[in-house]
């Protein structure tokens, strides 16, 4: 499979946060969900891809080109949508089109007009007066009008109502149909990833916790439930985000570690949401145990 986006050992250090050896790849023709809790480094990674943040080390290739050296060529072929409107709020769609069109040689005015119409966006209204959902659709219309090969979306569904979210996901699914495009979208709404993504990258504390096929993730981890008294020796260390309740315990565990467990334990398929929660709990457990040691 040809990779449309490839990140290898990306490192970026800020005062209170660092991306550590972030590596993942998105093959052409697929959608990748980029998930992680707030502050996990999703936006920093996206900003690094766009050369808005200057990486300390590592390599980022988009369409096989270097993200720093070939930044301008890459951006011609890239569609980007952020979580908030970054266009002039006092202008209407036509005025914004006039403003942005000269930058893209493949800008298609007919396509832009079609998308504005299809998305039901009022043409004469200032974009600043649009609803959140309309602003998001407008940014997508702008991004799609210059026929990008890769779409990068940072938290596009946050703050959208379920109907607008559903429409947005449909747009992305349609975009990917011809198998020559790619989509990387960051979100903390994991239901969106479950619905449309083929690949998932989970970022946690600036590190890649998992990257790969979404189905592989579903097969790899399970939620284990049971009584604390029944836990055999050695199993506790394998559990992620162990949490003890009044009636028993719950944790995330690798499917391979469940082999040979007795029927006293209940193992269920883990959703991405649950995986994120257990990763966060594991962090909390580690902090607590460190504090306990002190």
């Amino acid at each position: 499979m040809e990779n449309i986006l490839e990140i290898n050992n990306l490192c970026k250090k800020y005062e209170e946060f660092a991306l550590k050896d972030v590596s993942f790849a998105l093959p052409k023709g697929y959608i990748m969900g980029f998930v992680g809790e707030n502050g996990s480094g999703k936006t920093t990674t996206i900003r690094s891809i766009l050369n808005m943040a200057h990486k300390d080390s590592g390599k980022i290739s988009v369409f096989g080109l270097d993200s720093e050296k070939d930044s301008i060529v890459i951006k011609e072929r890239l569609g980007v949508v952020f979580d908030s409107l970054y266009l002039a709020e006092h202008l209407n769609p036509k005025q914004i089109e006039r403003q942005l069109k000269p930058f893209y040689k493949d800008w298609d005015s007919k396509e832009f007009a079609r998308l504005i119409k299809d998305f039901g966006l009022p043409e004469k209204k200032k974009v600043g007066e649009y609803s959140k959902g309309m602003k998001m659709k407008f940014m997508i219309a702008i991004a799609l009008s210059h026929k990008p090969e890769l779409m990068i979306l940072d938290e596009p569904t946050s703050g959208l109502d379920p109907v607008a979210r559903d429409e947005l996901l449909d747009i992305l699914t349609e975009y990917i149909q011809d198998e020559n495009h790619g989509v990387l979208f960051s979100t903390h709404i994991t239901a969106d990833v479950e619905r449309i993504a083929d690949f998932v990258t989970i970022l946690h504390n600036g590190k890649v916790w998992f990257t790969g096929d979404k189905d592989e993730l579903a097969e790899k981890y399970q939620v284990i439930k049971g009584s604390e008294d029944d836990i055999p020796s050695g199993l506790m260390e394998k559990m992620i985000g162990y949490h003890n309740y009044r009636n028993g315990f719950e944790a995330l565990i690798k499917t391979e570690d469940t082999i040979g467990l007795t029927d006293e334990f209940v193992c269920e398929k883990a959703s991405i949401d649950e995986i994120l929660v257990y990763i966060a709990k594991e962090d909390k457990n580690e902090r607590n145990s460190e504090n306990g040691k002190v």
Binding site: R47, L50, N51, M52, A53, H54, S71, I72, V73, I74, K75, E76, L78, V80, F82, S84, L85, Y86, L87, A88, E89, H90, L91, Q95, R98, Q99, L100, P102, F103, Y104
Partner: protein
Amino acid sequence: MKEILKMARFDYDLARSSLVPEFLFLLMVVAFFELLFTPFVAAGLLFQIPLSISLLHSFDMKNDFGKIYGILPVSRKNIVHGRFMYLYISAIISEIIAILIAVLSIALKLNRFLPHQGVLIQLADQQFSFKSFSPFIAIVAVFAFLCVVNAVMESFGQINGRDNDARNIMILIISVVVIMFGYIYLAYEKEILPQLDSIHFPASKSTQIIICILINIAAAAFVAVFSHITASIVSKREL
């Protein structure tokens, strides 16, 4: 160059809807002063400085333009050069309009419609007579001053952040006042520099044109240097 022009156009498109009332106001100011005392007409152009800069600054702050600058297929340096280019072009347009109005008012001898009374009117009459001070050199000089102010303000704004605009304006005003009073002190008290009323511009049209062109070139060079300095500093920063 293509990228710089695209960015200058980007800024023009951004400000265009607000430019019409600004421009009409500017035109009124220019025309008003033109009819009264020609050489000082260019002072009217100064109104354009706070208007055009604050307009773009407010757009920059209101709209999260750091993101669009990160998305557009343009280098960071050219984004900065584009902004300076836009400011320079808008200043040039103001200069051309002022000169055209001056040419028109002198050709039509508009001063004959002024009532011949009061000091200002006498002053206006003197200026229309071309005796001591060429109105065109005055216009070009103020244009050059405008370019310097624009370039300094934009540079400060981009390097130190728009939040410090008020401070930047204060620094600029204080600098101008210090230079002005310094000149007056050195020229009239110490008699080291030539006094303004003793300066006589050459009456020859060709010499005046050369002086105007040189002032324009100097202004363009100043803007280009500031654009370059700002772009070098800003391009190293993250968006």
